[in-house]
């Protein structure tokens, strides 16, 4: 196909013409598939799952290697300035112990109060435990690959969290691995609240690893740097009281925050069942009936 006309051979000319047609067909097929995957993202669920199963275990195995290498570097770093660090950690531990006892007392009081109010206590079922082993490299979307799949009970739509905070939710699941939509993706919206005063806010990803936090009520910017955002449980997908992000910068009437669970440094993450499955099901039902 390099030259316009490959000599006088009729056969070569036809070959050229048909390969031209095949490329046009490739473009058309690609465009049709693209439209289908944008309009009905669930169409290719199975085949995406198979691809995840191929790469997921490889990434998981290689992850051990990089984690060890990173561990050596950061491990060496810890010995630097160890004495003063030690003193600081001891002071912090002392303060922390006091806070912990307070917190335990509050939990107990809370439990008693809830018993009086006869509130239904949600059981937080851990569906699966795994590691974040990879991510989307070059895309405005922020996905991560999680090392547990349908075989472990992971289903599309389940929230993923780590010990540090909320990671995201499952959007593709294979038998052995699944894909997570991180909370820093633009399409991810987490109903949250400000830990300081419980004010309801919306946390939407910015696509570059940070999160845009906006208050629900219009008014003065309520944020301060270092404020912590936690989930509110509204909407029924994410469980309440999970740390989401820390405010780093004010930005007009909103603020920019960084996720507390850094997917690059998250060793283990757990998948939980949707907090209020009934609410999520009702919402998706209305969403699908709204769609044409």
């Amino acid at each position: 196909m390099a030259t316009a006309r490959p000599g006088w051979s009729r056969r070569a000319q036809y070959g050229l013409f048909f390969s031209f047609l095949a490329v046009i067909a490739g473009i058309i097929v690609g465009l049709i598939l693209l439209v289908v995957s944008l309009v009905a993202p669930k169409t290719f669920e199975n085949i995406r799952g198979v691809a995840l199963d191929v790469t997921g275990p490889v990434a998981a195995a290689l992850h051990e290697v990089t984690a060890t290498a990173e561990g050596l570097v950061t491990g060496a770093d810890d010995y630097w300035d160890a004495a003063s660090q030690n003193g600081q950690l001891k002071r912090e531990r002392k303060a922390m112990l006091q806070r912990m006892i307070e917190a335990k007392a509050i939990v107990q009081e809370n439990r008693e109060l809830k018993a009086i109010l006869d509130l239904r206590q949600h059981s937080r079922d851990t569906i699966a435990t795994g590691r974040i082993v990879g991510s989307s490299f070059s895309s405005p979307r922020r996905y991560a690959i999680f090392s547990a799949g349908r075989g472990d009970g992971v289903k599309v739509g389940m929230p993923v969290r780590s010990a540090d905070g909320l990671v995201g939710r499952i959007i593709d699941s294979g038998a052995l691995a699944s894909r997570v939509l991180l909370i820093s993706d633009r399409a991810s919206i987490v109903p949250s609240r400000l830990l300081r005063d419980g004010r309801p806010v919306i946390a939407q990803g910015r696509g570059d690893g940070t999160i845009d936090v906006r208050p629900l009520e219009v008014g003065r910017n309520p944020f301060r740097p270092n404020d912590i955002i936690i989930t509110s449980g509204t909407g029924g997908l994410y469980p309440p009281l999970v740390p989401v992000a820390k405010i780093v910068k004010l930005n007009g009437d909103s603020a920019i925050a960084v996720p507390l669970a850094d997917p690059a440094n998250t060793s283990f993450a757990i998948v939980e069942a949707p907090y209020e499955p009934a609410a999520v099901a009702a919402e998706t039902a209305t969403a699908t009936s709204d769609a044409p």
Partner: protein, 173 residues
């Protein structure tokens, strides 16, 4: 070609490796599979490896593979990188077609023209990714796409050099 024939250290009796005609497409698949590397990127500034290698091959040779192979290669890229299925199929096929048209028009080629061509194609790729992300509900500002664009354009000579090394190896030069 002439220069290769004139050079002194020609390895006599060394021909193309077995399956030499499948080596280019295999390297494109291998580049797509780099998405399985256990690196967690929170900013997404890595280049689109599969596409870089694809245009590297296509600019080096007019027929690294039959032109319609771009569609299945793109499908593999879509599967492993997590792009919406169909995106790379359409873009890669269109790239093959566009470069064939460019081949008819250009009178002469050098490294700069190839780099500029690659830069234009990479820019189209990034712009389309941005449009499709916003169609799928993730409308980020376009300024966010500029760092990966610059990095990809800067990475193209490296991938083109690697491709030319692989080409020399597969032909036994």
């Amino acid at each position: 070609m002439v220069r290769a024939a004139l050079s002194q250290n020609r390895k006599i009796g060394k021909g193309p490796v077995r399956f030499a005609e499948f080596v280019p497409s295999a390297t494109v698949v291998a580049a797509s599979l780099l998405a399985a590397l256990p690196i967690v990127s929170t900013s997404g500034w890595f280049p689109n490896f599969g596409y870089l290698v694809l245009i590297g091959w296509r600019l080096l040779r007019a027929d690294p593979w039959p032109a319609w192979w771009a569609a299945p290669l793109g499908f593999i890229n879509d599967l492993f990188t997590g792009y919406p299925i169909g995106f790379s199929i359409a873009l890669w096929s269109a790239t093959m077609l566009a470069l064939d048209l460019v081949d008819r028009r250009t009178m002469w080629r050098d490294y700069w023209i190839e780099w500029i061509l690659a830069a234009v194609l990479i820019a189209i790729d990034e712009w389309l990714q941005w449009r499709i992300a916003s169609a799928a509900g993730a409308d980020v500002p376009f300024t966010m796409m500029l760092p990966p664009l610059v990095i990809s354009i800067g990475a193209f000579p490296l991938s083109a050099w690697l491709v030319s090394r692989v080409d020399a190896w597969r032909l036994g030069r």
